[in-house]
């Protein structure tokens, strides 16, 4: 198992955001967390990447406990987090943003290669590589955020609502690229409000409700589940 999260609790002040979440991600697995606003999806990702620290519970990545490590150390182990709202560095150019994604690496030649690979994935970014990220559309910023995460050569990619506020065409493009990334052996944890899309892409799904896992199972199975269909797919 690449990542194993066991019974984590996260508190913001006195408010419990996570009340015992457990989940697993296999090598090259594609997992999605679905659920409504405030269910704890983002917090789960933040706990894995070290932005928030659980008050209880264990997170093991490649056999190493990481729940107490700071975010900058966790990146070095091979976990990249594309945060909610994209959070690109707006005053920096596209290339500078992407190269900062490789901040932990020293292998100059390989970094150049990966930069080229990101431009292959997102040809639009190549056209705009010297433009500041501020001047780009939401979809393009999302591409920068994903590209930046890939530049660290992650084994595990965490994505928080990559489709939010984007046009359907762009959402499809990003979905296609996520599948491609996953096919090349990178494990993915996708947090989405768009449950239909998420369950289509993922192999395994978890349904979060008020800080707990309400349901889990094969993505195809969840798609047929009555509760999921009513509550999240609107069918």
């Amino acid at each position: 198992m690449l990542l194993k999260v066991t019974d984590i609790h996260v508190h913001y002040g006195h408010v419990a955001a996570l009340k015992g979440i457990s989940l697993e991600v296999e090598e090259a697995g594609f997992v999605t967390l679905i659920g409504s606003n405030g269910a704890g999806k983002s917090t789960t990702l933040r706990a894995i990447s070290g932005l928030d620290h659980p008050s209880a519970g264990v997170i093991v990545f490649e056999g190493e406990r990481i729940e107490r490590l700071s975010a900058d150390k966790i990146v070095r182990l091979g976990i990249a987090h594309v945060p909610e709202g994209r959070r690109v560095f707006k005053d920096l150019t596209v290339t500078e943003n992407l190269l900062l994604g490789a901040f932990t690496r020293d292998d100059q030649a390989e970094i150049e290669k990966d930069l080229e690979a990101v431009f292959e994935h997102f040809p639009r970014l190549r056209e705009r590589k010297d433009q500041s990220a501020r001047t780009m559309s939401g979809g393009e910023q999302q591409m920068v955020a994903i590209g930046r995460a890939l530049m660290s050569r992650p084994k595990l990619l965490l994505l928080d609502e990559p489709s939010l506020g984007l046009a359907p065409v762009i959402v499809q493009e990003i979905a296609r690229i996520l599948v491609e990334i996953n096919k090349r052996g990178v494990s993915v944890v996708l947090v989405e409000q768009n449950a239909e899309l998420a369950l289509e892409l993922a192999q395994h799904g978890y349904v979060l409700e008020t800080g707990n896992i309400a349901l889990e199972g094969k993505a195809s199975g969840l798609m047929d589940n009555d509760h999921v269909r009513k509550a999240y797919l609107g069918i």
């Binding site: 990447s49 070290g50 932005l51 700071s70 975010a71 900058d72 990146v75 070095r76 990249a80 987090h81 945060p83 959070r87 690109v88 560095f89 707006k90 005053d91 920096l92 500078e96 190269l99 900062l100 994604g101 901040f103 932990t104 501020r134 930046r148 660290s152």
Partner: protein
């Protein structure tokens, strides 16, 4: 015409000093979200070092500048490690700590130099460059201008052309997103305050032969730095440099006709007007989207 040219030259030289300490204040605020009220005292310590080593003990001027820069850098690093880092989650605590440092450094300066009249450092560079028969620029001031411009150019190169410089700007823009790229925030904070401290020490050292040195000279420095930072746009380094030069020209001009006190009052009025009319400053960008 001749007078105006002379104003411009003097204003540019003054602007170099202003930019050196204002840029440091902006860097520290950007990366650490701390308003360093002791920044003026860092400049003062730089000037005192020159007085003590060069004027009192016969050290060479240039080696004394290096010592001043090193000393103030170290003070800055200590402030980061022992004051700003532990209080990072509470910007108000950092600010109050910096005010504490302000008073401590003033007392230290008084202990070292006594509380008598202001100290003077005889300019180590003699002579005056005369251009077109009417422009008179003392070599001391030319030296200061060249060094200020050189230091600011190095800083610009660092911030725009090196990966560590990008990382520093990234932390200033979004600390969490920067941490997610593997950037160690503590290390970047130390670099920011180290660079800010070095520039403040350099400003103090360069100003030493051109100003009155006393434990309270940091007062004018911090007021100027605030005016420049706010007019330039909080968080904008290029705005701070531009505002430093513009404000220096303005200050020089008003000082000649109405005196330094009136010039500073005008500067503060300017700052208040900018805060009310265009709080983002001349180069600042809106924080919310």
């Amino acid at each position: 015409m001749e007078l105006i040219l002379q104003f411009i030259i003097n204003g540019l030289i003054q602007g170099g000093f202003f930019a050196l300490f204002a840029v440091g204040l902006v860097l520290i605020f950007g990366v650490m979200s701390v308003v360093n009220f002791a920044h003026g005292e860092l400049v003062m310590i730089g000037a005192y070092t020159i007085w003590l080593l060069h004027a009192q003990n016969g050290f060479g001027f240039i080696p004394a500048i290096f010592v001043a820069v090193m000393l103030v850098t170290i003070i800055g690093l200590l402030m980061e490690r022992f004051l700003f880092r532990p209080t990072r989650d509470d910007p108000l605590a950092g600010l109050i700590c910096s005010i504490g440092v302000l008073f401590i450094l003033q007392v230290v300066a008084t202990l070292v130099g006594g509380d008598g009249p202001s100290k003077q450092v005889p300019p180590p560079f003699h002579g005056t460059l005369v251009l077109f028969d009417f422009l008179r620029i003392p070599y001391q001031r030319i030296f200061s201008l060249v060094v200020s411009v050189g230091a600011l150019s190095l800083l610009w190169y660092f911030l725009t052309r090196t990966k560590l410089g990008w990382a520093l700007r990234a932390v200033a823009l979004d600390r969490e997103a920067a941490a997610l790229q593997g950037i160690n925030i503590n290390r970047i904070s130390m670099i920011a305050i180290g660079v800010g401290g070095a520039l403040a020490g350099l400003a103090g050292a360069l100003m030493a032969p051109l100003t009155n040195i006393n434990p309270h000279m940091g007062h004018n420095v911090i007021i100027t730095a605030f005016i420049v930072t706010i007019v330039g746009g909080v968080g904008s380094l290029s705005g701070a440099v531009l505002a430093a030069v513009l404000y220096a020209l303005f200050h020089t001009f008003v000082t000649v006709y109405f005196g330094g006190t009136v010039a500073t009052i005008c500067g503060l009025i300017l700052m208040v007007v900018v805060l009310i009319v265009k709080p983002t400053g001349i180069m600042g960008v809106r924080v919310s989207e």
